[in-house]
Amino acid sequence: MRVDLKSLGTFNRIGSAGAKRAADALSSLTDEDTFVERTAINFTPVDHVDAVLGAPETQVAIEFDGALEGRALLVFDEASADHVLENLQGAGEDPDPAYLHEVANIMTSSFIDGWAEHLTGTIDISTPSALDTDESLVPPGEDVGGSSFLFTSTIGVGGDHRCRFYLVPEPTSFVGTLRDGASNGAALDVDVDELTAFLQLTASGASTVSEQLEMLTGIDAEVSVSHLNFVPVEEVPNTIDPGTYQGTVFQFEGPMEGYLAVLFDGATADSVAEAMLPGGADDPEKRQGAIEELGNITASGFIDGWANALGTTIDHSVPDFVDDMGKALLESIAAQLGQRQEFAYVFDVEITAGDPMSCRVFAFPDEAGLQTTISSLDADMDVADVERL
């Protein structure tokens, strides 16, 4: 089954407009300022979806069907749920937490309206319900090759509080919708199974990298999230939390060109440097050398995997050491990409261990190279057989 990745641009715009309407609805309900912090379309292995969603917290699920089928989920952390309830207009003092279901209902209706308009059909939504904590957001068997599309929006409310809104379209019908909504002009046509194979190949590269990180640092590391983001280039900086990061940025060249960033948040950079240089992590040069070595290993783990699966070579540059605001770093990469394309296809991998270990790896392939690479893959390959390093 083939889809035009460029049509995701249209759906990203619908999703962004829907998130804005949902945020406006929340503002009307609470009389608080609201703002959309980030929106993205993810293509995610099903077994990573729940990690993308994060901790269960306070969740309200709504099913929808008609012109678009699937499930929406509104997630608050406890403090934000309390904040919304306290400010809910007309709910009185000490409102029943069940009012959050009504909030979810109104926000989902607002979000879905634009879809119904675009798809020229009606979309019915169910009564909201709590999602069981052991229930996966993607029902068993409802995936495309083990992966799922996922719309994510983070909405700030009242300054310091936020909620997350997810929409998981039923994959098979959504792929049909994507095919029908194919963009005019140059297409970026790929086979969904090959796209899934590429995602699995990248996730497998992430696992290899986490094993090597563990070997080098002795820190018990694992891949918690590995997915492909489709975002307008200007949204790229929003994929990382505020704060300072240390790491390395590479350029890669070959059948697929682009950039790869390996970023450790401040506390993690301290932990890994100390683990690699016991007692010597205060020396800036040695510390930089250790971070660069980790970056090199990480870059090779991903890039060699892609190259070997294709039976070709993809070269990468020497590491460029960075120590600065994560958002500004990603913005600089996005601006570079933005000179040639409107959308970024971002492989976003999070490697975590016991707190405070968080390593983010972002790969930004050029869109033409990505299409060639995906189309060159054998959709039935066994990613475990792909040689790395």
Partner: protein, 159 residues
């Protein structure tokens, strides 16, 4: 633009806002993008966070580009009653944080475009703090015209 904490307007990437109120306008994570602050003598001001120098034909988001972004911000300010003849500018950003081996860093292109567009619009550039290799966070007070710039490794400075 989106309202954030009280008395603070947040500007995202490829975004702009204007105000005739007493809010401070903030934007963070400026890398190779430029921040262009415009203000007049009546207290109307605005901030643009532009990512690329020039809009292509049919560019959809005006604030993503320096040329169309400045034009949009000027229109927004004039709609709020700005005195066009007294509008002045301050400029920051355009750093080269990454050694990506390109011919001319996009940060430099953005700064050049900003100067050209402001000259063409007959707007005086009062002060600037651009280039370098680090990211910036910016806070702009349209009433006084003060643009405060913060880097990770340096004291905040005001221009």
């Amino acid at each position: 633009m989106t309202p954030g904490a009280e008395d603070r307007l947040r500007v995202g990437v490829a975004d702009a806002t204007a105000t005739d109120g007493d809010e401070t306008i903030v934007t963070s994570g400026l890398g190779s993008c430029v921040g262009i602050a415009l203000y007049d003598d009546t207290g109307v001001g605005g901030l643009l966070h532009a990512m690329l120098p020039e809009a292509p034909e049919n560019g959809e988001n005006a604030a993503k580009y320096v040329d169309t972004g400045v034009a949009e911000l000027l229109s927004e300010m004039e709609a709020l009653g700005a005195d066009r003849r007294s509008i002045k500018a301050k400029l920051t950003g355009g750093s080269s944080m990454l050694d990506l081996g390109e011919d001319k860093p996009v940060g430099d292109k953005n700064v050049e475009a900003a100067r050209r567009v402001l000259t063409d619009a007959d707007i005086e550039l009062i002060a600037d703090e651009t280039g370098g290799d680090s990211g910036r966070s910016v806070s702009f007070d349209p009433e006084t015209g003060e643009l405060r710039i913060k880097r990770v490794d340096a004291e905040a400075q005001a221009i």
